[in-house]
């Protein structure tokens, strides 16, 4: 037995020796081969990338959070699509680098009490060389209102005469109060006084669409780089779906001399903010937002950190549909009584730039003369736990319940919204004994659930579409499709009606102040904060404009400084 074992052992070692040698050879080749593949991959990846902001070629490399879901400007609703459209399209008017409204396709314009006239410039062209005419605008606006087109932003055109009726299908498209007088003059009639119509025309739903081209795409307009016709400073040069999007300077743009970048290359499409920050760290992209977790790192890297308010207001939306617990006034009041926006912003979100607020109307909105919020201060709010419990007891008595069933809180799927939701889950449990179930969904699904009313509380936000308080004021009117909680209050509706049908700034702002008060007093939503964003940019990338209303970030005025410049 022991002998046999020894023999085996002996055989084993000889076998081992030759095998070891073979293994070494094979392993060596393996390692070499793998190394070569990695090296080749690295080379291929870096092929001609150079700097994220390359002076010689005028190329800026960036990352986007997702690929634009809808580039048909009559139907776009999301920020990514609107940002891309802001670079490749141009409306009647646009915002310049100082956020002033200047002429785009329109050379000059007049806004009257009941109508507006735009005179189009003669050198505005589509990327196929055709001139941009007044007919293109009329076609686009009719398209946006066409019931079959189901544009979610159709309501933004409702200020134009008959627009609402056209959108409902009660009147033919031709009844719309927008008319082309020749190729270069556009006449618009209003349904009601519309003192901010000039600001509206900078929004993407008002962009022109080339009719013949639109029809030639057979329903695929905007789905691909060659399924779009451009009239803006850039054109989409290459669009690899899900991977990258490259914009190239448009030689047919009437003001091409103003544009100093040659290529805007969205080389990375990733929804992970951390990945984008790492790309910036590696010099692969020229601009990235930061999140609260990365601020210390950014300070350590000694980056120049920028901050800007993106203009949007965030809030906890409440479901007002009958039968939902949150339709009870006292329950909403109880939630409000224990809610402390300051604690959320300063201790949980921890991102400079977010400003806690008790008003739906952000500080940058203009009032009668100066700032709206200085003229009409936000409601005062002091968290009071004891009062919250009292109100909850009243709510339970009214609802006829001994204990409240768990409330469903619908949130987005980002790390920040999860953190926020866990904070609220603990806050409402600790202070009121209310159980919260967190329902994290991707954006589309969250929107679908908001629309169908499948929630009690939803973490939501609203960004302005145009530079007037009305963009926030009409959000909770009974007729607004974006009033997802289906809040209905005739007093609020009446106030908004006053504000939108008057031309007198004082009357309008008084009415909007009334809306501000109702939203707090009746707890339509629990306002949280005005969102700020913190970002870092390549030190030689200059002239990028961040703004709350309009294209953001806007690279149309950007340029790259030479090394050492």
């Amino acid at each position: 037995m022991s002998e046999a074992a020894a023999e085996n052992l002996g055989q084993g070692t000889t076998w081992n020796a030759s095998a070891l040698l073979q293994l070494l050879y094979l392993g060596g080749f393996g390692v070499l081969g793998l190394g070569f593949i990695l090296w080749a991959l690295a080379q291929w990846n870096e092929g001609g990338a150079g700097d994220a902001a390359d002076y010689a070629t005028g190329t800026v490399t960036l990352a986007m959070s997702q690929e634009p879901p809808q580039l048909d400007s009559t139907r776009s609703t999301d920020q990514v699509s609107i940002a891309v459209l802001g670079h490749v399209m141009e409306g009647l008017l646009r915002y310049d680098q100082d956020d002033q409204l200047v002429g785009g396709v329109a050379e000059r314009w007049e806004i009257g009490e009941t109508s507006a006239t735009f005179w189009l410039r003669s050198d505005a062209r589509w990327s196929n060389g055709d001139p941009v005419t007044a007919h293109d605008f009329v076609f686009a606006w009719r398209k946006a209102l066409e019931p079959a087109n189901v544009s979610e932003y159709a309501f933004i055109l409702y200020g134009i005469r008959n627009a609402e009726a056209v959108n409902r299908g009660e009147q033919p498209l031709e009844a719309l109060g927008a008319r082309a007088v020749g190729d270069r003059q556009l006449e618009v009639e209003f349904a009601r006084p519309l003192p901010y119509f000039d600001k509206l025309t900078a929004f993407c739903t008002f962009n022109p669409v080339h009719e013949a081209f639109y029809e030639s795409t057979a329903g695929a307009y905007g789905a691909d780089a060659d399924k779009l016709l451009y009239n803006g400073p850039f054109v989409i040069d290459q669009w690899i779906h899900g991977a990258s999007l490259r914009l190239k300077k448009n030689p047919n743009y009437w003001d091409a001399d103003r544009i100093r970048l040659n290529v805007i290359d969205y080389a990375y499409i990733t929804s992970d903010p951390l990945a984008t920050i790492n790309l910036f760290k590696d010099g692969k992209v020229a601009l990235t937002s930061l999140n609260a977790e990365n601020l210390t790192d950014a300070m350590q890297q000694r980056w120049k950190i920028h901050r800007f308010a993106d203009g949007s207001v965030f809030y906890l939306g409440l479901n007002h549909r009958p039968g939902r617990p949150t339709s009870n006034y006292h329950l909403r009041k109880a939630l409000q009584a224990v809610h402390d926006p300051g604690e959320l912003v300063y201790k949980v979100l921890k991102l400079p730039g977010n400003v806690p607020t008790n008003s739906l109307f952000p500080v940058w909105l203009k009032g009668v003369r100066g700032s709206f919020r200085q003229e009409y201060p936000a409601p005062k709010h002091h968290p009071d736990d004891a009062r919250g419990r009292e109100l909850l007891a009243r709510a339970l008595a009214e609802l006829g319940l001994a204990e409240l069933p768990p409330l469903v809180m619908l949130i987005g799927d980002t790390p920040t919204s999860k953190k926020q939701a866990e904070y609220y889950q603990n806050l409402f449990k600790r202070k009121l004994g209310i159980d919260i179930k967190i329902d994290a969904q991707i954006f589309k699904q969250r929107l679908a659930k908001m629309t169908s009313g499948d929630y009690d509380i939803v973490a939501a936000g609203w960004g302005p579409d145009y530079d007037d308080a009305m963009t926030f004021a009409d959000l909770f009117t009974s007729w607004n499709e974006n009033n997802r909680g289906r809040y209905a209050n005739p007093v609020l509706d009446a106030a908004v009606d006053v504000a939108r049908s008057s031309n007198d700034p004082q009357t309008r702002m008084d009415a909007i102040a009334k809306v501000q008060k109702i939203i707090y007093e009746d707890v339509v939503v629990l306002t949280q904060f005005e969102r700020g964003s913190v970002y870092v940019a390549h030190p030689r990338l200059r002239g990028v404009v961040r703004r709350s209303v309009g294209t953001d970030p806007d690279y149309t005025n950007a340029w790259i400084a030479p090394v050492g410049g």
């Binding site: 100082d98 951390l274 977790e293 601020l295 210390t296 790192d297 300070m299 350590q300 000694r302 980056w303 120049k304 950190i305 920028h306 901050r307 300051g342 604690e343 912003v345 300063y346 201790k347 949980v348 921890k350 400079p352 730039g353 400003v355 768990p406 469903v408 809180m409 799927d413 790390p415 999860k418 953190k419 939701a421 866990e422 904070y423 889950q425 603990n426 449990k429 600790r430 919260i436 179930k437 967190i438 329902d439 994290a440 969904q441 913190v534």
Partner: protein, 463 residues
């Protein structure tokens, strides 16, 4: 000499050659002896026992609510300073104003002086500065690093767009550290001037008496005066990103992780033993049929079934999906065990002692239960100990991708997921749950390794 019966004496048979010198050992006693000789396995065994005690009795000893949020100690590492000074209630600050100064033209200057008004506390730092000539506004920066070498000012906290206001109140996430505040002058279009004025500020941690009562730092009978120093709650392993106690979360997380890690493997190993022994014992066509079905189950994708079971069990958003996770594991993981057991049974069926037993009239039940399953026990135990870590990993993975537990229930996997985001700034949030997963998995693996050596009957023969 006569011989008779008395002359004879019976021969005494000495049977001592047959005596067993050492006490006889059963299979299990022998296995235990050999396991004891294996230090690695014994250490692992103690670790496993320790983990079970930690899970079962831990929450009784450390009675901290795993979902309570201590917002004063967010992401605090273990052993962080806990001293806190009592102060009066917060009073809003009016700020400071100054008449704008007209400059002599030329480049914009930074304010000449920058100072702190009142005490710099974690509740608020109030800055004021002297008006700069021609200023259109000011921008305030804060950094935890010195601004001196290259003028990296850190975080932009806010803008004051009114030249008459020369003060700013910072309340953003203040920690008891030294901060470097800077003020930069803005022109009337909001563009920054080049210079800056900087001041280092040491911040002390404060709390009001009411907050201290609410947090249970002092009894309601205690009277504290401003200036008294208290200690915040202790968190032996620090806190996470919402100020929740890591130790309590690890204990509660272990309940989920170990529950799934132990119950699921037990269940699917039992199913596998039953299925495998039936197939192995029956043999022939039945065996073929059963094992082809097992092959079919192996081919089913786990994640897809996990999602299907979530729907089947009507898991509402916000509910834990521990049950569907376990069912999916049991339904899909048994074939590996079944194959192993079947192989063993097939082999044992042909052994001589089985034939002998059969000749003696043993029934099928007796054969299977008395001879076959005990002889496959070694293999089964080893499979079980290796299945535990893989189940823990599966749970960790599913919670990591958000399909496992729902907040605020912690599990080690979801804690790793959360800790990953702040890996660079507060590594303890990732290290502790990751270490617990690693240690548990390693302990079960080494124990399994030791058990395999100890239970292997052939190794017994060679000694």
């Amino acid at each position: 000499m006569t011989t008779n019966a008395l002359s004879f004496e019976p021969v005494r048979v000495e049977r001592e050659v047959e005596t067993i010198s050492r006490p006889s050992l059963s299979y299990w006693q022998d296995a235990w002896l050999r396991l004891k000789a294996n230090t690695r396995a014994i250490v692992s065994l103690y670790l496993v026992i320790g983990l079970l005690l930690f899970t079962v009795f831990g929450p009784w000893l450390w009675q901290v609510d795993s979902s309570a949020q201590d917002l004063d100690q967010i992401s605090a590492p273990p052993g962080a300073e806990r001293a806190v000074t009592v102060v009066d209630e917060y009073r809003p600050w009016q700020g400071a104003t100054a008449t704008p100064v007209a400059g002599a033209g030329g480049e914009l200057q930074a304010p000449a002086s920058l100072s702190v008004a009142g005490d710099a506390t974690t509740r608020a730092v109030r800055l004021q500065w002297s008006a700069a000539p021609d200023a259109g506004g000011y921008r305030i920066y804060r950094s935890i690093f010195d601004t001196a070498p290259d003028g990296a000012l850190g975080l932009p906290l806010g803008d004051v767009l009114d030249p008459t206001t020369v003060s700013f109140e910072d309340r953003l996430d203040l920690q008891p550290l030294t901060y470097h505040y800077s003020v930069v002058t803005l022109d009337d279009r909001g563009r920054e001037a080049t210079g800056y004025t900087s001041v280092p500020v040491e911040v002390t941690r404060v709390i009001t008496a009411a907050q201290a009562h609410a947090k249970g730092l002092i009894d309601s009978a205690d009277v504290v005066r401003p200036g008294d120093v208290l200690k915040l709650q202790m968190h032996p392993l620090g806190t996470d990103y919402l100020g929740r106690d890591m130790l309590a979360r690890l204990m509660h997380g272990a309940r989920v992780s170990l529950f799934i890690g132990i119950v699921a493997p037990f269940a699917f190993v039992l199913v596998g033993i039953f299925y495998g022994s039936v197939a192995g014992f029956m043999g022939g066509r039945v065996d073929q049929l059963l094992m082809r079905f097992a092959d079919f189950v192996v081919a089913l994708p786990f994640l897809l079934f996990m999602i299907l079971f979530r729907i089947l069990f009507n898991v509402q958003p916000g509910d834990n999906s521990i049950l569907p996770m376990m069912v999916a594991m049991v339904v899909l993981s048994w074939p590996a065990v079944a194959r192993l057991v079947r192989g063993q049974i097939l082999q044992i069926r042909e052994e001589g002692y089985i034939g002998a037993s059969r000749l003696l009239g043993a029934k099928t039940n007796y054969l299977v239960l008395r001879h076959m399953i005990p002889n496959t026990m070694g293999v089964i135990l080893v499979t079980l100990t290796f299945a535990v870590p893989s189940a823990i990993f599966t749970e960790a993975f599913l919670s990591f991708i958000g399909m496992g537990v729902a907040p605020p229930t912690p599990s080690w996997g979801s804690m790793c997921n959360e800790g990953l985001k702040t890996m660079l700034t507060t590594p303890h949030e990732l290290i502790f749950p990751a270490a617990f997963i690693s240690i548990t998995v390693l302990a079960f693996n080494l124990l399994g390794d030791g058990l395999r050596d100890a239970l292997d009957a052939r190794m017994r023969a060679t000694e």
